[in-house]
Each structure stands twice: as structure tokens, then as C-alpha cells.
């Protein structure tokens, strides 16, 4: 199967629609039917970036990180694998709709015993795309609110303090996306996951503030994205941990690797 740009756009549109109405096992089944496993073999990078950023933008979830990590280790898509989490914890992202105790109650994420070491670079890139998508979703909510909400007789989007928070959010997102596009090797993927985690946390902070009281209610959907960002940031290493790890690599290497060249 070859995937050209038009096909990809069509696929992305289909996926976006699907993800708006389906999540969890339901979405997992539909994606399997659409040939997710084949796509992961035939057009791996573009499949990962498209599907995972759409998960973020739509707020849907599916246990697809298992497939990325399993196939990167030479296995088959469709199962589950024990994944490292921040703080030395281990988790399993089950292919069920049974919620665990995670901060994001929609996710079937459960504590697990220590698992085997598996290659993490591609999984980190996938989660990076997811985090960037989640950050974009938060930014869009805050942007719409800022244009809509009137105080002192004008939209709050006209106040520089509000504008600059949203601008800062976009800068973080765009920077993270650039690191994801450029990421190829182990270190590049680690840095990209760190940048994406940081961007999502930046978005959560600024967008929550811009949304004011309404963004603090359970009725508004912001909190779902905030929860997701916080949970995904820790999976396969948090921004804080990965940044420190990058510093260790740098110190041991004695020189900063220039990971992209003209």
C-alpha cells in the first residue's frame, strides 16, 4: 500500500470524524478495520504523526502506543506491552475500556510490574505528536473563548496580557513540532518528547488562565485535555526527566550534538 498526499488528507479527514464520535476500544476496532497495522508498516512516520496528533486535537484516545512500541521492537501490532512511566513506575495501557486510577479517568492505564527494556524512540515521537495535538486543542479552546468573552466592553482577546499568553503557547507548540519533524535518532526523539511535554504543560497553564472560571469547571472540556497532557507527559519519561537525561548525554559527550544539518 502506498500513501500519497491526497489519500492521506482523505484518511485524516475520515479519522478526524471517527475520533470525534468514538474513543477507546470502539476507536481501536475502527482503526484496525481501516488498516492501522498495515499503515504502520507501509507509511510509518506519517501514520504516527497523523494519527497521534489527531488523537490530541480531537480529545479521543486509543491504546495505539502499544502498537508503535511493539512493532518498533520487531513484534506485531494488536497486543499490549509494559511501558516505563515517570518516577521509575511501569504501566500497561490496556485494550479495554476499564478505567484505572489515572488522573485522566478515560484512560485504561494501570500500574504494572517492571517490564522488559524496549526501544522507546518511536513511542516517544508518537506521544510527542499526541501532546502537541492536545496543546493545539487547548489553544483553540482558549482562543475561541478570548474572542467571545466580553469584559470592560470588549473581547478579552484585545488585552495584551491575554494575547501574550496565547502567543507564548503557540511559540511552544510550533517549536515542539519542529523538533518532532526533525527527530530521527534516539536523542532527537528524546528531545522532541521533552519539547512536546513542555509545550503541552505551557498550553495547559496559559489556556487555563485565559479561560478563567469556566475553564475550571467540569462542564467545559478544557480539563479533559489538561488531564490528558499531564498523564501523557509522564509516559515514556516526563519533560523534566528527559531534559535532565539530555543534559547527561551532553555532559558525557562533552559537546552538543548538532542533530539537524542544512
Amino acid at each position: 500500500m502506498t500513501v500519497d498526499t491526497t489519500e492521506l488528507e482523505l484518511l485524516a479527514e475520515t479519522l478526524r470524524k471517527t475520533m470525534t464520535s468514538l474513543s477507546g476500544t470502539g476507536l481501536d476496532e475502527v482503526l484496525t478495520g481501516l488498516g492501522w497495522a498495515e499503515l504502520l508498516t507501509e507509511a510509518r512516520d506519517v501514520a504516527i504523526s497523523t494519527v497521534f496528533s489527531l488523537l490530541g486535537e480531537t480529545g479521543a484516545h486509543a491504546p495505539l502506543i502499544n502498537d508503535v512500541v511493539l512493532t518498533a521492537a520487531g513484534g506485531e501490532a494488536g497486543g499490549t506491552v509494559t511501558l516505563p512511566y515517570a518516577g521509575g513506575a511501569w504501566v500497561r495501557w490496556e485494550r479495554t475500556n476499564q478505567p484505572g486510577a489515572a488522573l485522566d479517568p478515560e484512560l485504561p492505564l494501570h500500574h504494572a510490574d517492571e517490564g522488559e527494556r524496549v526501544p522507546l524512540a518511536e513511542g516517544r515521537r508518537a506521544l510527542g505528536w499526541w501532546l502537541v495535538g492536545t496543546a493545539r486543542a487547548m489553544l483553540e479552546l482558549a482562543r475561541a473563548h478570548a474572542l467571545d468573552r466580553v469584559q470592560f466592553g470588549k473581547p478579552i482577546a484585545s488585552f495584551q496580557a491575554v494575547r501574550h499568553r496565547l502567543a507564548e503557547t503557540l511559540v511552544a507548540i510550533e517549536g515542539a513540532e519542529a523538533t518532532l519533524v526533525a527527530a530521527g535518532d534516539e536523542l532527537g526523539s528524546l528531545l522532541a518528547k521533552a519539547a512536546a511535554g513542555q509545550a503541552a504543560l505551557t498550553a495547559a497553564r496559559h489556556c487555563q488562565q485565559v479561560l478563567g472560571g469556566i475553564g475550571f469547571t467540569a462542564e467545559h472540556e478544557l480539563h479533559r485535555h489538561v488531564r490528558r497532557a499531564l498523564v501523557l507527559d509522564g509516559l515514556l519519561g516526563s519533560a523534566r526527566e528527559l531534559t535532565r537525561e539530555a543534559g547527561t548525554v551532553l555532559r558525557e559527550n562533552g559537546r552538543a550534538p548538532r542533530l539537524v544539518e542544512l
Binding site: S158, R163, L166, A167, V171, G175, A178, T179, L259
Partner: protein, 362 residues
């Protein structure tokens, strides 16, 4: 010539030809070193790649200039700030100067025989550049210019100046001139910066006569000319600066005995992020895209990374810049300006809010 051939050619040539600076670290020394490096690279041909033949170039894609600058900067052969000025001045001449003038003048800039400056900002017109009041009045075929410029880098060394002056009200009333700096009526007063250099100047213009054939573009094109500079500044110049900052991160890594890998990693991550972003921008430019307000993102990322790097240096080399004379001190101080020059961080965020996020007017 493709990028790979060019890069390996430049590297091999620079390995053979030692252009290491031997000056005393003064700004005048930096400027003399810059002229020496340009001359040598021009004579060897490297400085001419990426520029069209009509201005003394040897052709090839513009990205070759970014590659050359990265090599020069990484080897610390020239100060990246003043090295990169050509990247703004020469394309301006190419786009706006009469062909004969560009063909005559630009090679002098490229080969190091002249320094030029850019007279844009004024005491009353910084972020609000379009409010500039230096005026040019027609007299016969000539123009007579009076007013004051400030933050004019290299003015005390410059032979020419690309100057913005008002010929009518409004944005469309700004006209760009190509001025000889030895014209009577020009007074240059260097300003000393907080990092101890006389890098930029005040320039006073009292009834300075500029010949009519020294207009860049047509009367009223000045604002457009100023806006057209941005893509140049934010592609090649940024790449050079990023290369320079990587050398400082390398130096910090070598000199620190701190085990604060979180701080070191954060400085690395910020620098890596702008390198990736700038790389994408150069790609788009090479593919023929017209750069616009999205380069404000590059500018914010770069300024933030630069300040974070030197803040980290201060943290991880405790006492070094406070107690001892070393390049860390002046470079730390200089990094404070990164969120001010070339459009302040606030102006960039205003542009992002208005143009990229569609938040409407303030």
C-alpha cells in the same frame, strides 16, 4: 555546487588556511578581523557562492551562505553579529538598488573592503519604526536629509548607509537612500553599551545632500524595503547565530563542574528547538515560500534560547562572570539585548497574536 560539496570544500579550505583572530578583543579588532576573513573567503571564492553573478557572486542556492556562516561562526573566526550584516544589506541592494549601483557597490561589501550600516531606528522611533521623522526634501535632482538615527551598528566604521527618511506622511512616505558616510553634514557618535563595546552609534544628519540616483527603489518604497529585510534576517542570520550559541553551549559543557544536568539539558533543548525550527524555515525558503509573520516564532525561540543559555552559564559557572574578566561576562551582558534588538519580544508576541492567532486588534 550542492550543499555537501560546498561544506566539505569550505572545511578543507579552512583547515588549510588559518584565519584565527589575533586581535586584542576590542571591537575595532573584531571589525578588522571581519574584513580580513571576508577578503580571504572572497578571494578563495567561498564568500561569493549563493550570490548572483551581477553583484560579483558565483551563483548557487542562498543556503550555501548559511553553511559558510556556520563554519565561520563555529570556528570563531568572526563575530556572528557583524558577520551576518551582509545578509540583510546585500539582498536589499539586489532588490532595490539600480543595477549599476548594486554591481559597483556590493562586491566591496562582500570582499571586506568596506563596512556598511543601516540607518533605521531613531530616538523617537524604535518599535514604532513607521513614525520616523528624519526628513528628505527634494532640491533639484538631489535630496537634502536632516534628522537623527540611533542604534546604528558599525556606523563609525561604515563607508555607506542604507537610510530610511521621510519624504511624505504615512507608511508610504518613507523612502530609502544609499548614502556615502563621508558626505558633509554627517556626525557619528559611538554609544558605549553595558557590555563595554562601542558597537552602535548615534548618527546626526544636518542638511546631508544625497544625489537623486541614490534612491533605493522609488520614493515611498522604504517601508516595504524594511519589511522585506525580515526573511533574510530570520533565515541565514539566525542560522549563524544559532551556530555561535552551540559553540557557547560546548564551552559551558567543557568548563562547568556542576552536575546539574537538568539545567544543562534545558539550555540544550531550547537551542535544539530553535535549530529545528530555523532548519524548517530555511527549507521553506529554499522551496520558494515567502516568509512572513510566522518567523516571529523563530525570533522568540531564538531570543529565549540565547538568554536561557547565558543564564545557565551564570548558574553553572558560579562566580565566573561576576569575579573574573572573561568572555562569559560580556557575552552574558550582551544576551540581555536578545529580546530587544531586531523587534522586541513584545512586538513579536503582538504579531503572533494578531497575524497567526487571529485575535484581532488590541
Amino acid at each position: 555546487m550542492n550543499v555537501e560539496e560546498f561544506r566539505s570544500g569550505v572545511r578543507a579550505w579552512l583547515d588549510e588556511h588559518d584565519l584565527s583572530p589575533g586581535h586584542d578583543g576590542s571591537f575595532a579588532g573584531e571589525v578588522a578581523q571581519l574584513a580580513r576573513v571576508r577578503r580571504a573567503l572572497f578571494d578563495a571564492g567561498w564568500m561569493r557562492y549563493g550570490w548572483p553573478e551581477e553583484i560579483g557572486g558565483l551563483g548557487g542556492p542562498a543556503v550555501l551562505r548559511a553553511v559558510l556562516g556556520e563554519e565561520v561562526t563555529t570556528r570563531e573566526l568572526a563575530d556572528p553579529g557583524i558577520y551576518s550584516m551582509v545578509e540583510v544589506l546585500a539582498p536589499t541592494m539586489l532588490a532595490y538598488a539600480p543595477k549599476r549601483l548594486a554591481a559597483e557597490m556590493v562586491p566591496r561589501l562582500l570582499d571586506g573592503s568596506e563596512q556598511w550600516c543601516q540607518g533605521f531606528s531613531e530616538p523617537g522611533s524604535g518599535s514604532d519604526l513607521a513614525s520616523l521623522t528624519t526628513r528628505a526634501l527634494p532640491r533639484g535632482d538631489d535630496w537634502v536629509v536632516s534628522g537623527q538615527k540611533v542604534w546604528t551598528s558599525l556606523a563609525q566604521f561604515a563607508s555607506r548607509c542604507v537610510l530610511l527618511a521621510r519624504t511624505a506622511p504615512g507608511h508610504d512616505g518613507i523612502t530609502a537612500f544609499f548614502l556615502d558616510m563621508d558626505t558633509p553634514g554627517i556626525t557619528v557618535r559611538p554609544l558605549r553599551t553595558m557590555h563595554g563595546r562601542e558597537e552602535f552609534c548615534e548618527v546626526f544628519l544636518d542638511d546631508v545632500v544625497v544625489p537623486g540616483d541614490r534612491i533605493l527603489g522609488r520614493p515611498g518604497d522604504g517601508w516595504r524595503l524594511a519589511m522585506d529585510l525580515l526573511p533574510h534576517e530570520r533565515s541565514t542570520c539566525f542560522w549563524h547565530r544559532i551556530a555561535h550559541l552551540y559553540t557557547r553551549l560546548d564551552r559551558l559543557t567543557a568548563e562547568t563542574s556542576s552536575a546539574d544536568d537538568g539545567a544543562l539539558g534545558a539550555a540544550f533543548l531550547a537551542l535544539h528547538t530553535i535549530r529545528c525550527r530555523s532548519h524548517a524555515t530555511q527549507r521553506r525558503l529554499a522551496d520558494g515560500a515567502k516568509l512572513g509573520p510566522e518567523t516571529s516564532v523563530d525570533k522568540v525561540l531564538l531570543a529565549t534560547a540565547e538568554q536561557r543559555l547565558f543564564d545557565t552559564a551564570r548558574d553553572l559557572l558560579p562566580g565566573v562572570l561576576e569575579l573574573d574578566e572573561s568572555p562569559w561576562r560580556s557575552e552574558f551582558l550582551y544576551s540581555r539585548a536578545a529580546t530587544i534588538y531586531g523587534g522586541t519580544a513584545e512586538i513579536q508576541r503582538n504579531i503572533i497574536a494578531r497575524r497567526l492567532l487571529g485575535l484581532g486588534r488590541e
